[in-house]
């Protein structure tokens, strides 16, 4: 059963006392709620051990249990009315969510095909199964908002609005790719759509996202632009949550109340390393309150639940109340990358999550609620098929980057290549930029 679990009393507006401008976490209202949370956590810890023991022994754990959240469950029940409202979506919203997830899935499936046909190369990390997280969050954002991703970034790019053609071309290494073929699968960037990357090393995108959020604050407070309210969403995985940059950025984001949402796509595996073998306290959401921000745990296979949490967190950031840490329980249906034989994950675990396919779940919801009918969904499926086919055709037909492109973007200011023996800047020599000059 999918449900929302919460660590903090609420992410509802107004229920978390906003920090005073002195940016100390010790304002009385908020500290008491944090203490309550910490207290709850401490008492849960002893209960936790038994679960951990079980986990180590059998690796039988496929779902996260609602351990020790009873304190906040009652608060949850008390807030039921607003949850119900947030879950209700309109037909249009439903169709948008469905289309975005189907686009993500179809695109990734096509990537796998293309990879095995030798059209794309290197390390390709597919997002199948995790669509609810990308769609759930990114479809809450405005065009001016920023998204920062990792190497598993194709679907974040698509959700944010980067055309499928541009992503596919990039994967094929063509000059028409979103990064001119220079980035590849793990380095998707789009200035137009506010996609800040695409990073191959885990964790290194989180500070970049923090910087984008810092820029919003700077724009408001230094440049005095009241309309500056761009929010940044940073996506990363469970493995990253043991990395220093994660903790350092949680600290700075909370310290300066930056408009950022840290979204953990916890799919339980970092290549072949199980989250539980790598992490002393596996509940990542608990680490939010340790740094002074709400930590939320949500079912990442349910796009409506994700969306509900996302709307809250985005609103919170946008009005200046600071960051949120959201842990999404999710799963990748494929291996870590197309090169991963995926032998360590148990079939039972995979089957469990396959049964919670987010697209099937949304489809079921939409049909059962009467918001849409079969033909609507089928026409979307067809539309997406055409988009993806077109993307492949476009990428196939696109030219490879010419040799002359090699050095073009090394420096924004090409004077950085320096002055050659003849006294001219190297970049003034056409042979240099064509890559044929002897350097």
């Amino acid at each position: 059963m999918a449900y929302v679990m919460r660590s903090s009393p609420s992410v509802q507006s107004g229920s978390l006392a906003p920090h005073s401008s002195a940016s100390s976490v010790s304002s009385s209202a908020s500290s008491s709620s944090y203490i309550l949370r910490l207290g709850a956590l401490n008492s849960q810890r002893s209960g936790r051990l038994s679960i951990t023991r079980r986990a180590i022994g059998t690796a039988n754990r496929r779902t996260r249990k609602p351990h020790g959240v009873s304190a906040s469950t009652s608060e949850l029940v008390a807030e039921k009315p607003s949850i119900k409202n947030a879950l209700a979506i309109t037909r249009e919203e439903g169709l948008i969510l469905y289309e975005d997830m189907v686009l993500g899935r179809s695109f990734e499936d096509m990537c796998a095909q293309m990879y095995y046909r030798g059209k794309m190369f290197g390390f390709v990390h597919l997002y199948n199964g995790q669509e609810a997280v990308s769609t759930g969050f990114v479809k809450c954002l405005k065009p001016e908002d920023y998204v920062c991703s990792t190497y598993r970034d194709h679907v974040h790019a698509l959700s944010k609005g980067v055309p499928a053609r541009a992503v596919m071309s990039e994967l094929f290494g063509k000059a028409t790719g979103i990064c001119r073929g220079q980035g590849g699968s793990m380095h998707m960037f789009s200035k137009e759509h506010g996609l800040l990357g695409g990073f191959a090393f885990i964790g290194e995108g989180i500070p970049v996202a923090t910087g984008a959020a810092f820029k919003t604050k700077y724009e408001r407070e230094v440049l005095k632009n009241d309309k500056a309210d761009a929010v940044t969403v940073a996506f990363f995985g469970d493995g990253t949550c043991n990395n220093g940059q994660f903790f350092e950025c949680l600290n700075m984001a909370a310290l300066w109340k930056l408009p950022i949402i840290f979204v953990v796509e916890n799919n339980l595996w970092a290549i072949g390393m199980s989250h539980y073998r790598a992490t002393s306290v596996p509940e990542i959401w608990k680490k939010g309150p340790a740094f002074g921000m709400p930590g939320i745990h949500v079912d990442g296979m349910d796009v409506l639940k994700v969306r509900e949490v996302a709307l809250e967190a985005v609103a919170r950031a946008r009005r200046g109340d600071g960051p949120t840490l959201v842990e999404c329980e999710t799963y990748r249906f494929r291996g870590h990358s197309l090169a991963d034989p995926d032998e360590l994950r148990k079939p039972a675990e995979k089957a469990h999550y396959a049964a919670r396919d987010p697209i099937i779940a949304l489809k079921k919801y939409l049909l059962e609620s009467g918001l849409v009918d079969e033909t609507d969904l089928r026409s979307i499926d067809k539309k997406i098929d055409e988009i993806v086919e077109d993307a492949v055709e476009f990428a196939d037909a696109s030219p490879l980057p010419p040799r002359s492109q090699l050095l073009e973007n090394v420096f924004a200011d090409p004077k950085g290549f320096g002055i050659g023996p003849d006294g001219k800047y190297r970049c003034e020599d056409p042979a240099f930029t064509a890559g044929t000059a002897q350097v």
């Binding site: 920023y146 920062c148 790719g177 990064c179 001119r180 220079q182 590849g184 380095h187 960037f189 789009s190 137009e192 800040l196 990357g197 990073f199 090393f201 290194e204 989180i206 500070p207 970049v208 996202a209 923090t210 910087g211 984008a212 959020a213 810092f214 820029k215 604050k217 700077y218 724009e219 407070e221 230094v222 440049l223 220093g244 940059q245 350092e248 950025c249 600290n251 700075m252 492109q405 073009e408 973007n409 090394v410 420096f411 924004a412 200011d413 090409p414 004077k415 950085g416 290549f417 320096g418 002055i419 050659g420 023996p421 003849d422 006294g423 001219k424 800047y425 003034e428 056409p430 930029t433």
Partner: protein, 411 residues
């Protein structure tokens, strides 16, 4: 600290006002009567837009009608050389850095500083003293001790429109930020296909100090030199410190500005008018004809000290402060080699994989035919800087070694 003022007796070195370096391309606006094409000291150059972009993506134009200064090397005996302008004002190198920084922060509200203790404390070396009071806590941001993350934060802020300056309290601390410097600063403009620019400046003091211990006495220029996408300069006088700081801030590229712990209290008279140095150009400190000495940062002053003795012995060294550690100004360097045919490199970097090693290779590639002797290179020892004073002294190149090397090279 070492030198308290720059007062050189350069013998027959300077002959009146130095000619301004000008760029030979017809696109450049500056025209001065050049005495030689030695591309002497880099003064202003703010340049017109590059109209002919060809296959390059032209940088945005920044044309400013700055006044040009003919010569501002504060050589005591040279009253005539500062002829074109008023007498200027005297200050210490760290104050010059601060002046440059302050001017740029006033000029562009997107310029901000972040680092440890830059705000309320005013900077460990006082480079940002008073700036937080003037510009506020957000523009001069005191960060927690998390170099990798706040450097990455600067990258993200730069990508989205700000122009941050990251101060490493010591360059050595920036080793912790190496991931962000190499992967993000250096790469993102490229991997994004040119979509995002990263106009950050990363600066801080490095080099061997006075018994600060190994970790605070690192010579890291070469660690960053290979990173594609980065530019790197080293300042050595108050004049070039201010000018390079301004140029680095204005540059659209990520620039590493290497300062030196022992040079912060150098005093010099610099112009009152605004000026900007050129990031890619070397500085001809003293023209000569016997041998080319290439150096940078603190070693410039050791070379100058050695030069006094050499000149007395009848040598005529040409001393060039390379300023730009990446890329090398091969024009200035080459013209000198074509004249003297002998090269001595004096650097503080380690021998192995140092700036000197890279420079030697570059010179061999480009100017082999002009060399009459193998290129000599004096570098610091490949050793973690020892604490003991005697050992520390033996780690870096000292003036007597330079004198000996020249004698060996020139006979």
């Amino acid at each position: 600290m070492g030198l308290s003022s720059i007062a050189y007796d350069l013998g027959s070195g300077l002959n009146g006002p130095m000619s301004i370096s000008h760029l030979s391309s017809p696109r450049q606006q500056l025209a001065f009567s050049a005495k030689s094409c030695t591309g002497s000291r880099a003064c202003i150059t703010v340049r017109a837009a590059d109209g002919n972009s060809g296959s390059m993506r032209a940088p945005p134009s920044t044309v400013r009608a700055s006044k040009l200064v003919t010569n501002a090397v504060a050589v005591k005996s040279e009253t005539a050389s500062i002829a074109a302008t008023k007498s200027g004002h005297e200050l210490l190198l760290f104050e010059a850095l601060r002046e440059g920084l302050e001017e740029e922060m006033e000029r562009d509200p997107r310029v901000c500083v972040l680092g440890e203790d830059v705000g309320h404390y005013g900077g460990s070396y006082k480079v940002t003293k008073g700036l937080a009071e003037k510009f506020g806590d957000l523009r001069v941001l005191d960060t927690p001790i998390a170099e990798n993350s706040f450097t990455g934060m600067a990258v993200g802020a730069a990508m989205t429109g700000l122009r941050p300056i990251v101060e490493g309290m010591n360059m050595g601390f920036l080793l912790l930020a190496y991931n962000q410097i190499s992967n993000n600063c250096g790469m993102l403009h490229y991997t994004s296909g040119g979509q995002f620019t990263i106009p950050v400046v990363i600066r801080g003091p490095g080099g061997v100090g006075r018994q600060l211990g190994a970790e605070h006495s690192q010579r890291l220029e070469s660690y960053f030199q290979s990173v594609p996408g980065l530019q790197m300069v080293a300042c050595s006088t108050p004049y070039n410190a201010k000018g390079l700081m301004k140029a680095a801030i204005r540059s659209e590229n990520p620039v590493i500005l290497c300062e030196h712990v022992l040079l912060y209290n150098l005093k010099e008279r610099i112009p009152d008018e605004e000026y900007v140095c050129c990031l890619e150009r070397a500085e001809l400190v003293r023209p000569g004809k016997d041998v080319t000495i290439l150096t940078y940062s603190r070693m410039r002053h050791h070379v100058l000290q050695a030069a006094k003795s050499l000149i007395n012995k009848g040598y005529d060294p040409e001393i060039i402060d390379i300023i730009s550690l990446k890329p090398f100004d091969l024009h200035t360097i080459g013209n000198s080699i074509k004249k003297t045919h002998k090269v001595l490199i004096v650097e503080e970097c380690m021998r192995t994989g140092g700036i000197g090693a890279s420079l030697r290779a570059s010179i061999m590639d480009n100017f082999w035919d002009y060399l009459d002797a193998p290129i000599m290179c004096l570098s610091s020892q490949d050793v973690p800087t020892p604490y003991a004073g005697t050992l520390e002294e033996a780690t870096v190149v000292q003036p007597p070694q330079i004198v000996k090397a020249i004698k060996q090279l020139c006979g």
